[in-house]
Symmetry: C2
Subunit: 204 residues, 2 copies
DNA sequence: CCGCATCCCCAAAGATACTG
DNA sequence: CAGTATCTTTGGGGATGCGG
């Protein structure tokens, strides 16, 4: 893509990661290195040539790096550099903004393994620095543990939230405290919901 | 642009503002409404048809709105909606990330009126919630005032920083406390520089 | 099978001219 | 001033090929 040619940090950032698919590619690599085929599979709609081009561009831009797995694996993987990992706040703020108009999840939402952890990490964790809350969403388990996201249900969670993805959306995005089943200390969940209030979607 | 068709807040956000020029257009509108010609002038390299298309897309997406100025002005202006204004954290985090690899400003940097305020607002203000620091950069004046940016030099600033854009870059981005002239309390400037340390550029 | 490179087609970007 | 119309060029999307 032609560079913007402006001395501006935003324009420069977009020169590096502003092309189509680039930020989604970074999103996929946020939770660990992936192979070419893994990326191609997760980025449905991104054709092979575009993926190859993006990978080269992002590598040239210092956002990702390729690494040869030690034998006998043989294959190579892509991973975020320190620069690339530093994009986390960008993805988080984009996600928070996107939630304002995303709408509730469809009934037939496919929830691949690990989605709950990723969802909590990119959209919620920063707002719950002290909470210890477990989530049981459609059988997947993850927890907020004092500012970080951990797999499974905490033994000593202050509260456990149970529901479908739709319930969780109503609870965390729309702020409806009654949307999901809450065991334990409702107040600590209410506190989280309150912290998420700015940026709540308004009627369109 | 074809939508990503993923139930993901990041993908949805990029569907709305991920196209070329979109975020730069929002950047320009962040500090007040602008007319078509103003935008066309500031977004050098963005042709008229593309600008018209983006304005329509962003309006359809609820990010910006057009407003007829009351007579006798007659012309219409574009401004951010509440949705669009909520993109501020996205632009701020993008700017902070872009600073990691932007490099120092060129000698012949053109500094249009108001650039200093905008620069402080998008890249620094969030890190200085208590500071009262004045900046005199190449003749432009602006100040940090307890978490907000104000034009001019504060009467009762704790410190005043004076220098060229290059000096300010060395001070705030590279963290070189000796790069610019500091009158008053050096410690409060040092504190700001310290707060900006995460995300400092590393050697490429 | 994995990791691309090539080819074709079309949609969108860039540049320029022109109009209500 | 605020766009639309037209033309050319670039890049994305989809399918396929091909070496390791």
């Amino acid at each position: 893509m032609k560079p913007y040619n402006q001395y501006c940090p935003v324009a420069h950032a977009l020169d590096l990661v502003g092309e189509r698919w680039s930020l989604l590619l970074v999103r996929e690599l946020q939770h660990g290195p992936l192979r070419y085929s893994d990326l191609h599979e997760r980025l449905e709609g991104c054709s092979t040539n575009v993926l190859a081009t993006r990978l080269k561009d992002l590598e040239a831009g210092g956002v990702i790096a390729r690494r040869k797995l030690p034998p006998p694996a043989g294959s190579s993987v892509y991973e975020l550099t320190e620069e690339g990992a530093a994009l986390a706040p960008v993805l988080a703020s984009l996600a928070r903004w996107g939630l304002r108009s995303l709408g509730p999840p469809p009934e037939d939402l496919e929830t691949p393994s690990g989605w709950l952890e990723k969802a909590l990490r990119t959209t919620v964790v920063a707002y719950a620095p002290e909470a210890r809350i477990g989530f049981d969403v459609s059988g997947e388990h993850a927890s907020l543990d004092r500012g970080s996201v951990v797999p499974g249900l905490l033994e000593d969670a202050e509260a456990v939230v149970t529901g479908t993805p739709q319930d969780i959306y109503c609870l965390l995005v729309e702020g409806d405290i009654g949307a999901a089943e809450i065991e334990g200390d409702r107040a600590v969940v209410a506190e989280l919901v309150e912290a998420l209030a700015p940026g709540r979607p308004v009627a369109p």
